[in-house]
Amino acid sequence: MTSANAPLPVTVIGGYLGSGKTTLVNHLLRHADGVRLAILVNEFGELAIDEDLIEAEGDDIISIAGGCVCCSFGSDLTAALMDMAKLVPRPDHILIESSGVAIPGAIVASLGLMSGFSADGIVVLADCETVQAHARDEYMGDTITRQLADADIIVLNKADLVDGADFARTREWLAADYGQARVVRASHGIVPPETVLESFLGRSHSAGPHHEAANLDMHTLRPKGPVDVGALAKALAEDQAGIIRAKGFARSLSGEKTLIQVVGRRWTISATSEDHADGIVCLGFKGALHHHQLQDLLAGLTGAN
């Protein structure tokens, strides 16, 4: 997936107690499909990892089917991250399941102080039924709203527990107050894995039956020559065309091979030596991903396509 010295992508999964973080993590492990995930949890709760996924358990580390691991970091996330980076074979992607009271933006900011890691974004889970009440809670309200405000992607979970009108109201409330985040609907933590983790996006360049079922749609942009990569990444992050995530390669105006990554409104460009064909995969939901707009956007930047 990634070369040995490329930064290790790290996704922070936040959200209050009971929002479904653990369920989502287990779902991602079940669909890891060869991607070696390292899960960092604050503490091993009684049901941190579904039992049938566990291959072996140590004091601080659980080995999981498919080459994945789960570690408890306790009070020292920095040390746990460094331990993960040293694992052989090296994990492809690190997932931090933060505590219910953690502010995920602070975790990502700390990540920026360490070399060898790159932030793949903040996914915050919200329980459809309770998130609005929690956001008004005397004690936890401002913590919940800070978490939501930090999100690149909000997984609006437990959608099966509310009727359509309630779901729509919650979604509107999120859009009004937390418009920076893309919202993904989920029940039982089941989301298309590629919406949550960039490492999954890399492996699915074509829409297949899985995407049909998940109602996903994709569009690949293929710049014909050098392009202002910063402007392109920024435009993709501006939510005009229904993109949840985008990832791919293009050549910059100075001719450098550049990796472009977009999650919600967060975007990064980085020079890369990886030998990939140009092309940026844009992921969105069927009906919401506007192929024409994407083409127009690229054409606007390259002059003609």
């Binding site: 009971g18 503490e43 009271v101 102080l113």
Partner: protein, 545 residues
């Protein structure tokens, strides 16, 4: 074998016999206290008159401190106030940044390994007109050796350029709320909060496990205890890993170890179930001098770090509300499980909202698990109002108030963090006593120096560092303060049957003083010299440590 000690005066803290002249000790315990004639009927004895001109009090008890203070003393002391180290040397307080640089230079020149880090501690620029200390200052000490100075609050670390370079942060584009950048776009070397401090701290000699003492640190901490008249001290946020339990059992078991240590296992990175089960198991391994089996929970952060959880109207300077370290649901699970298992929990609540949360959560837990005599204790509890103290009383809670904080940061709280009205009611000792909440007071060493007589002075006089009396109405009397640092602290640990007063059957634990705290001017309480201690009948003169 009975020894009868003659003293100038024995302050017993036992209301039936408030003072006496002689105390008889057998097998490390108090056989009796009174006049010599009261004690002679116990049979043969040796009369020991070495304390004939001393004042004996019950060994003082520190209800909230951290043994890591012992470890920190191996770093360079950079504090504003004079402070005594484990060997009894008094380090002058440093009144300017230049003085800090000069002391660091002295220490630097004594190092032989050119790459060894130079860590300093207890810096507090609040008293230096809030002068910002930058890497340029510390680069005057060395540009080739990593240097870091930890602030007294523990929430800020200043480092030099070399330390930033080693951490890979001496570069433009660092984007972190805890790392300010200078005009040149590079970090200034000021690191705010643990997230920013951790990646650099390891390069300047501050290990990650900063809240734990090491072996030498524990021995050094015990020396500080003797010098302060302390015979029992908590270690209020210990990780108590297997290794550290082994080490603490071994060191406290040494024949000359002078202190009873009460470490509380902190609930960080473990589930409520794990911490309760572990504490039940640890309790079984306790010895006389290492009392395990209690839990420390942390609800919020600190007031001066703006991470304490505040109720309306929040911080005086408009800072956003602080951080929760434990969610109400987790606290509830902890309280329920702990009450069910009979394990005591001490909960750090600095802000009044954190205090309210703990009260809200404990009440239903107590209904589910009726637990007479649980003595759950709120630690710091600095901003509680009268209604919250009444609630504590009705829930049979104890409180341990941070009297020293009032002296060191009272002016800051008045001016900046909470404003005049709440600053005046901070650490409301009078209200606690009048409401009937069992209470004690603490230093939170190393945040402020260990010294229960100083802590008592703070609670009695409520004088801030600038010399103002802040909160006249919350002052307590000398005898109330002395009670707080003896039997009061013992009560919060369920140890009041063993220590905290001088009466028959209890441990022969005494603070040996050169002056009488009940007879001196209350303003001089902090100046009473401590000769040493007697702990379990063993005599520890401070001069011989």
């Amino acid at each position: 074998m009975t020894t009868i000690y003659k003293a100038k005066k024995i302050i017993t803290m036992n209301p039936n016999r408030p003072d006496a002249t002689h105390v008889a000790v057998r097998d490390g315990r108090i056989l009796g206290v009174g006049a010599l004639s009261d004690l002679e009927p116990w049979g043969d004895y040796t009369l020991d008159e070495q304390f004939a001109d001393k004042i004996l009090m019950p060994g003082l008890i520190e209800g909230h401190a951290h043994t890591m203070e012992g470890t920190l003393w191996r770093n360079v002391y950079c504090g504003f106030f004079d402070r005594m180290d484990p060997d009894g040397k008094i380090w002058d307080g440093l009144k300017s940044v230049d003085a800090v640089i000069a002391r660091l230079k002295d220490a630097e020149s004594a190092l032989t390994d050119p790459d060894a880090p130079l860590p300093g501690w207890s810096l507090d620029p609040i008293y230096m007109n809030n002068e910002r200390v930058s890497r340029d200052h510390l680069d005057q000490v060395s540009t080739t050796r990593p240097i870091g100075v930890l602030h007294a609050s523990g929430h800020i670390l200043n480092v030099n350029s070399k330390a930033l370079e080693l951490a890979g942060l001496l570069k433009p584009g660092v984007n972190h709320p805890g790392i300010p950048l200078g005009k040149d776009g590079l970090p200034t070397g000021e690191l705010f909060g643990p997230d920013a401090m951790t990646p650099v701290g390891q390069h300047v000699g501050f290990d990650r496990a900063l809240t734990d003492c090491d072996e030498q640190g524990l021995r050094d901490y015990a020396k500080l205890c003797v010098r302060a008249g302390v015979t029992t001290s908590t270690d209020l946020a210990a990780r108590l890993s297997d290794d550290s339990v082994e080490m603490m059992l071994r060191v406290t078991g040494e024949a000359k170890f002078p202190t009873r240590i009460v470490p509380l296992k902190v609930m960080f990175g473990v589930t409520p179930k794990e911490v309760v089960d572990y504490s039940v198991a640890l309790k079984e391994r306790s010895t006389d001098r290492l009392r395990m089996g209690r839990i420390k929970a942390v609800a919020d952060g600190s007031i001066q770090g703006f991470s304490a959880r505040m109720r309306w109207p929040g911080y005086h300077n408009g800072a956003p509300n602080g951080l929760w370290y434990t969610a109400p649901e987790q606290m509830s699970e902890l309280y329920n499980r702990a009450l069910e298992a009979g394990v005591q929990v001490h909960t750090h609540t600095n802000g009044d909202q954190a205090t309210q949360m703990a009260l809200d959560v404990l009440e239903p837990a107590l209904k589910a698990h009726p637990s007479p005599d649980h003595r759950f204790t709120l630690q710091h509890c600095q901003l509680a109002d009268a209604a919250q103290f009444r609630k504590m009383k009705n829930l049979d809670m104890c409180v341990n108030l941070f009297a020293n904080h009032h002296f060191y940061w009272g002016d800051e709280h008045y001016r900046l963090t909470v404003g005049p009205e709440r600053a005046e009611r901070m650490n409301a000792c009078r209200t606690a006593i009048d409401t009937g909440v069992p209470m004690t007071i603490h230093s939170d060493a190393p945040v402020t120096p260990l010294g229960p007589l100083f802590t008592a002075w703070c609670a009695v006089n409520r004088i801030t560092a600038s010399g103002r009396v802040q909160g006249e109405g919350e002052k307590i009397a000398v005898n109330e303060a002395l009670r707080a640092v003896t039997i009061g602290a013992a009560y919060t640990l369920h140890l009041d049957g063993e220590v905290g007063s001088i009466e028959v059957g209890k441990k022969a634990d005494f603070a040996v003083l050169e002056g009488d705290p009940t007879a001196c001017n209350p303003l001089e309480l902090k100046d009473i010299s401590v000769w040493g201690t007697v702990q379990g009948g063993r005599i520890f003169p401070a001069a011989d440590l």
